[in-house]
Amino acid sequence: MTDTPTDHIRNFSIIAHIDHGKSTLADRLIQATGGLTAREMTEQVLDSMELEKERGITIKAQTVRLTYLARNGESYELNLMDTPGHVDFAYEVSRSLAACEGSLLVVDVTQGVEAQTLANVYQAIEANHEIVPILNKIDLPAAEPERVRQQIEDVIGLDTSDAVMISAKTGLNIEGVLEALVNRLPAPKGDANAPLKALLVDSWYDQYLGVVILVRVKDGRLRKAQRIRMMSTGAVHTVEQVGVFTPKMLPVDDLGPGEIGFITAAIKTVADCKVGDTLTDDRTPATEPLPGFKPSIPVVWCGLYPVDADDFEKLRESLGKLRLNDASFHYDPETSAALGFGFRCGFLGLLHLEIIQERLSREFDLDLIATAPSVVYRVHRTNGIVEELHNPADMPDPSLIDHIEEPWIKATIMVPDDYLGSVLTLTNERRGQQSDLTYVGNRAMAVYRLPLNEVVFDFYDRLKSVSRGYASFDYHMDGYAESDLVKISILVNQDPVDALSFIAHRAQAEKRGRSICEKLKDLIPKQLFKIAIQAAIGGRVIARETIGALSKDVTAKCYGGDISRKRKLLEKQKEGKKRMRQFGKVEIPQTAFLAALKMDA
């Protein structure tokens, strides 16, 4: 099992635009190689989290070892690394790719090349992968394999003469995929006798096993009871278990060069396992670590506060538990004038933020208020000090600021010609700068530079809606640039609500302020007294709305038999109110915070 010679190992990823069939193909490969019985086979085996299944997206990288008896009569060990599909998790893709020698590029032949196809392909090329184009969904009447073949050649420059035509859904020609893996992907290289070098690909917390580390062995062997050292920190652990995923966890004696598998080593938290780190043997260590990869950095920050102030400790514990499993998100305690004690949390993107928030409420039963998401600004003070600003509430007085820089992204948008106009209007509204516009058949490919600030809230939703779902989008960070930014405060009955303040470009401040006031007017239910909502830059009010008082709210019948019940109801209401966050005597529903900031056209 563990003595597979490297020339009988193939390590590969599947890359695809969302919905092009990556998960379905992975299922078929597992099925075809007998990794699971028919009974164990549930839809989309590798999307294991409830949320992943629901949203149809892969969040965590997953891996599975397939044993394939090839047509040449030899048995091969095929290690599949499933990669997340959403841009927020692009860093996960890059580290999965680093553990493999090749990729299957799945393209839906009814759709063709999309933005994410391109983004992933470029990452695979950068990782020196051999890329096998897979033309999927040929069972569909709308399939246009020849057009898509041409597109792949034109846009990506890949030779498609050996592309594998399949239907992942019906299982058509899955063997063709397996044969291509064996025959076209290079075997991993490595020296079994050299000192151990294993790449730490990922780690997560398992309720029963503690921290599980996913590794790719490059040189040497990784075995049970071995004392291993993390080269970046020098921390030493004793390996307790070594195994592979089939996708069930299967213990093995050791892992040799080229192999992918997991270990456990009594490690307490995921935070102690730096992704990209090199594991080596403590007694005969390697001298040089493997080239690591860039650690993920949170790009979107927001405050998370418990609706019930008493839940602060519970929130701290829950964040801790989530971080056990997801070292890519960060949290630090902070306080807000309006919200009291909470945490400033950093995420890889808005989807990541929403996922964490949803998990906190679902898995930990927490009612939370999320403040306006913010990107990380660089504030250059007049005294020369440069600081990173994660929270609009911390913006220094304008007189102390020399200038501010904001993060930009480079975005690739692919869209059918018909919708190009509306997409360009959208990118212009969002301060986009066009750097390229080319055509791929009747699809336009626009490359834009955009401030990240303009993208985090709802750019993706808007893009989908103006293009009727046809546009695809991918991005990567693209440095910082100076910008004319102002802080907009939201006041409720004259009281500033720090949790709603946000930063915007001066040219858009008024429009944003107005739109938020209008939104809040819809989001805040009528209350006993009328409510004034204002947006202001410094002392200058730029927008205002009034929510009228509720018109009627009184129990019709209240007699002697009702007193106890009515009193208890009142006491419950008071208790609820005490725990409810009030802003200038106004109750703002927790959902209003994030919803108010989503911009409409």
Binding site: L528, S551, C558, G560, L570, K574
Partner: protein, 382 residues
């Protein structure tokens, strides 16, 4: 000693109305003798511990007390008069429905001593009555009203408004007809969806849609206007009377006085040994009767009402009245000064907004304040 009002609960109805969550049950036949005896036993038990307190009112409520044997009503009235110290103009009210069974009993109730009849008319429109699941027609209701007017010195009836689809002009027209028939008192309730009722199920499924808050507010305003034009004033959120014709029994509740509640599920507030106690009885009629037969009473729980609880109760009842709350009475009854029971910020804001008036003697909610009383109380009560 606090004067006393006496509430007697009759838990049976001919049918269960789909909006109603009162402690009412359908039994055919009703064991009249058993329940009559049990009520008399429990009344005697209650009187024994209360002593000969001054009695200001008796109220037969339900359920449908109009379905009681007049002899039972007569016996209970006689017992109460003997056991307590009735005021000269003792108010004795009985609730009845305009059904044929009850029509035949009205004279008997009058002879038993009932001097105020409260009729459950609910609507003057046959379609609306059917929608409310009522078993009588508008014509029957009008006939019952005429008969009652000839018999009883005081007469009130109930209507339910803010019904699904009801418009302000419809309601004004219906209410004007009602006011033409009215004697000196009306209870005009906005339809409430009570949990666990048939209407609640329909409401949840979207098959019953109540008027929105703005319409409900407009209907409420129209109610006050029409009633006032006819000389009936809103002395309480849902109760309208000619000056002097207010229900004294119900005023006792709203002024947070003592009241004894006997019968299944009845609640009371009684000062006993210097402590205000909340009393309540077993709800299920047969179980209650069984308890009475074994122990002389069907009481299941009695708890002292703490000072902050008294303050909240006095507040939530008192602000329903247009006369509001007498600060001195509030302090002596609850042990807490009125202003200490209020959130000062809300008080100031509510006064400024015209929801509340606070003078040296009283605190009262204006009509605008009463219309929003639940929200107001939640912010105002401490």
């Amino acid at each position: 000693m606090e004067p006393l009002a006496l509430y007697i609960h009759w838990p049976f109805c001919l049918a269960k109305c789909p909006y109603c969550d009162f402690n009412s049950h359908v039994r055919a036949p009703v064991d009249q003798a058993r329940f009559a005896a049990a009520l008399r036993t429990e009344l005697a038990w209650e009187a024994a511990r209360l002593g000969r307190r001054r009695l200001v009112s008796i109220f037969f409520g339900g359920g449908t007390p109009g379905l009681m044997e007049p002899a039972t009503v007569a016996a209970l009235i006689a017992d109460a008069i003997r056991l307590f110290d009735p005021v000269a103009d003792l108010e004795i009210t009985l609730e009845a429905n305009p059904t044929s069974v009850e029509a035949g009993r009205l004279a008997g109730f009058r002879a038993a001593g009932v001097n105020r009849l409260s009729l459950g008319v609910q609507a003057l429109d046959d379609a609306a009555l059917a929608a409310l699941g009522r078993r009588h027609s508008a014509a029957q209701a009008i006939a019952a009203l005429e008969a009652a007017r000839a018999l009883f010195p005081r007469l009130s009836f109930d209507l339910i408004t803010a019904r699904p689809g009801q418009t302000v002009p419809d309601w004004r027209a219906e209410l004007r007809r009602a006011l033409a028939l009215a004697a000196d008192h009306l209870s005009l309730y906005q339809l409430t969806i009570e949990p666990g009722t048939g209407f609640a199920a329909l409401h949840r499924k979207g098959q019953l849609v109540l008027p929105d808050d703005d319409t409900a507010a407009a209907l409420y305003d129209a109610t006050g206007e029409e009633a006032a034009r006819a000389g009936l004033f809103a002395y309480e959120v849902s109760n309208y009377a000619r000056p002097g014709a207010e229900s004294r029994h119900n005023l006792q509740y709203w002024r947070y006085g003592d009241y004894a509640g006997i019968g299944p599920g009845a609640h009371g507030r009684l000062t006993l040994g210097g402590t205000l106690r909340a009393t309540c009885r077993q709800r299920a009629p047969e179980a209650w009767a069984g308890l009475v037969e074994r122990h002389g009473h069907g009481s299941t729980e009695e708890t002292p009402v703490t000072a902050p609880e008294r303050a909240r109760e006095a507040l939530l009842m008192g602000l329903r009245l247009s006369e509001g709350i007498d600060a001195a009475r509030f302090a002596s009854r609850t042990g807490i000064a009125l202003d200490d029971a209020l959130d000062p910020g809300t008080l100031a804001r509510a006064v400024e907004e015209g929801y509340l008036v606070r003078d040296a003697v009283r605190l009262r909610a204006t009509p605008e304040g009463r219309k929003r009383l639940d929200a107001l109380l939640a912010a105002l009560a401490r």
